[in-house]
Symmetry: C2
Subunit: 190 residues, 2 copies
């Protein structure tokens, strides 16, 4: 097996999804995935730390565009507007293929260890967004609160987009969810 | 070892915390915990499904009071006001002993598997609160959004209360955090 296989990462991800859907996540080994992709387990571990990671975009590829979008908003934009820009970037990143998203989620929901990994990824993203807000001068606890709330909106809107009967653009569902949140908090305060 | 040891659960929790702080979580076994508590591993597993659980209140003891508080708010109370009542119940439940909370958190932060378990518990709580809101007639996505946002507030306010230099009542920190959230969302919408 050559050291530099063309698109090895993509082939491994595709093979993994096929096998997880065919046999189940628990019943699939890294060796199975590598074999289906025509690669070796050693190559698998050059791209992914463990079997779980093959279902997740790397933190770098996932967090950086969101943090960059947050940082690119004008300095005077309020914290939740900067968070909204990060959610737009998330929509750009993952809002393209709803069928694939649904299949992937069915695999994640089938395994406690995958659900845990998903929660860890979202907690890490919340932390990265909070750091981005702090660099913009947003103090604590507002920075943490805006970031954690943004992730709450992301989770709810992402699930809504994924599961609703008629597809809308993910960015639109995110914006509607943020507007709902404003209404919800205003109603409790009023 | 008798079948019904007095306060076996409390003794096991206390022994576990002592050992985790002395030796580290990874270096402590269930057998060590049971021995320190003067009990057997078999007794340990009557109370806890695994080593991780000894650091967490059972879902029943943790979720039920919060869901009950949510359900006890007047039917006409807005969703986030019902969630705020659940956060008050959380403050009653865990806001009593900050030193213990800090020690416990230092153990959780030392282990990836404990951080995962903590995230799972909070996700389960969010889900229970969302179900409670749905039973009150709150539609989706508002029910999920109010519940997830409530957990975001809980996480941020709990960490703030735990780590700030001068102690304030946890319920007060929670309420301030909810008020901050209202300000944050209104600023982005305005």
């Amino acid at each position: 097996m050559g050291r530099w296989e063309p698109n090895a990462e993509g082939r491994l991800r595709e093979a993994a999804m096929e096998l997880f859907l065919e046999r189940g996540y628990e019943q699939t080994t890294v060796a199975d995935i590598a074999e289906r992709a025509g690669l070796t387990s050693r190559t698998f571990f050059r791209y992914f730390a463990d079997k779980r990671e093959v279902l997740f975009v790397s933190s770098q590829a996932f967090e950086e565009p969101l943090v960059e979008a947050l940082e690119a908003t004008p300095a005077e934009a309020p914290p939740m507007a900067a968070v909204a820009a990060a959610l737009d970037a998330f929509a750009d990143l993952v809002g393209g293929n709803r069928e694939h998203t649904r299949a992937r989620q069915s695999v994640i929901d089938s395994s406690a260890e995958l659900r845990e990994r998903e929660l860890i990824k979202l907690a890490s993203l919340a932390s990265a967004l909070a750091d981005g807000l702090r660099r913009r001068g947003v103090p604590d606890p507002q920075a943490g609160l805006a970031a954690e709330t943004g992730i709450a909106v992301l989770r709810v809107a992402f699930a809504e987009w994924r599961d609703e009967a008629v597809e809308r653009p993910l960015a639109e569902v995110m914006r509607a969810s943020l507007a709902d949140l404003t209404t919800l908090t205003a109603a409790a305060a009023g």
